[in-house]
Symmetry: C2
DNA sequence: CGACCGTTTGAGATCCTTCAATACCAGTGG
DNA sequence: CCACTGGTATTGAAGGATCTCAAACGGTCG
């Protein structure tokens, strides 16, 4: 809980970063030239909605939460970027969401000005960034379907499968975020999240080793739920 | 209701299309060269989720609805693109949502292969498309907040202001879509949409000339509602 | 006029929330 | 070692916003 914001200028091992995939040797060296490492302890803020966006980031290690707030404090989390995710890419002005560290995180930072020059000078980079952003858009639209039309159980099932995908672990997932984070991501309250998990446990669809460690015992059932195949089990 | 799908190869007056804004004279002529006009009557399908994406479109006239379905028929509308909107831009494979005409529509179509060549050959185009997609992403994230955390009244108020913006009409909006469309856009049922509109009318916040014609009588109140400023009026 | 389709309105049910209490877990200090 | 504390998670009971089901209304078209 003790805040400790470290921003080093040490060059990350940038060659295998997401931003560099598919780039030529020389282009990669340019990316390395402008990047710097940046760390945040769990709970710390990376940037806030409305602040000037002074650059882009790539998550190297750990998990962030990105969220938007309503004036009275209602919160909607729009994503939990993990290692390999680019963020803060497009905004030509202010950040459109806030970013906090869920766990201790390491990031790679690209200052706005040099990043823009890079995009102009490296052929194909704009197109790659376009593709990345288009992927995020697709993901956001899936989330629209989830928030607008799925039930609590379907939402939670979708979320567990998302974690499973992210962690490339078909049966065992780590849940670094709190129930409150999960609720604000799925448009539910913490109580509903908790109750839904308990119900899935009773049904032997999942196992709850601890609050942050979940076993996917019946992946088929979870996938049916997440897909919305109205298979209402008694 | 009688289906009538016309696809002409007549060149649209493409010079002032969204895709061309900011492009040089020669580049514009290239865009013109690959584009074709395309029309759909109200209710007709432009493409369906899962189909191969054979090109991109720009709405020239009219309104579309883009939506995703769950297996049991639950529908989430992800957007109502109107004139000036580009769509089907990014997908390297299948469409990720279905598109239908809400009103009679005119579109400009860019076939995939030539469009891709264009993106590679026109400097700055990829970057522009990236910016367009980033804008859509931002919009989708606002919609996440709406679906996940706003009340029915806040959702409807946001929707009316969106229409007002789209139509650049501060007090009078045309509602071309049905209550069912609105409900599936806001994550509500048609009954709740209708009741909410009736309540806003009783409160003299809006006027309901007819089902598809709404007067914004108290824009401040609508904006306060849409922003989520928990101003619960008696 | 009468049928049709979308909208509005009403009454009751439901899912999820709210409020409140209890349980759990880790860290701290006695 | 164990009680205490603070924070998070779980569980319970009651309430409410929205949904479901059903009927009435209203505009359009033949």
């Amino acid at each position: 809980m003790h805040a400790q914001a470290i921003t080093s200028t040490a060059k990350p091992e940038v060659a295998h970063l997401t931003l560099c995939r598919g780039l030529e040797r020389q282009a990669v060296s340019h990316v390395v030239a402008i990047s710097s490492l940046c760390k945040r302890a769990a709970g710390e803020t990376l940037f806030s909605e409305g602040e000037a966006a002074d650059g882009a980031f790539e998550v190297v290690k750990g998990t962030l939460r990105l969220y938007k707030l309503l004036p009275d404090g209602r919160r909607q989390i729009v994503g939990f970027p993990a290692a390999g995710t680019l963020l803060g890419l497009a905004p030509e002005g202010a950040h459109v969401y806030s970013a906090e560290a869920v766990t201790d995180v390491t990031l790679c930072r690209y200052p706005r000005a040099s990043f823009n020059r890079l995009v102009d000078s490296v052929p194909g980079l704009a197109r790659r960034l376009w593709a990345v952003t288009a992927d995020e858009l697709r993901f956001a639209q899936d989330q629209l379907l989830l928030l607008g039309r799925k039930t609590a159980a379907e939402k939670v099932a979708s979320f567990l499968l998302l974690l499973s995908d992210q962690q490339q672990s078909p049966t065992e997932v780590e849940v670094p975020m709190t129930r409150s984070d999960i609720g604000d991501y799925l448009g539910l309250t913490i109580e509903t999240v908790s109750r839904t998990l308990t119900k899935l446990k009773r049904d032997k669809t999942i196992g709850l080793t601890s609050a942050c460690r979940i076993t996917l015992r019946d992946r088929d059932q979870l996938e049916a739920l997440a897909a919305g195949e109205a298979a209402t089990e008694s």
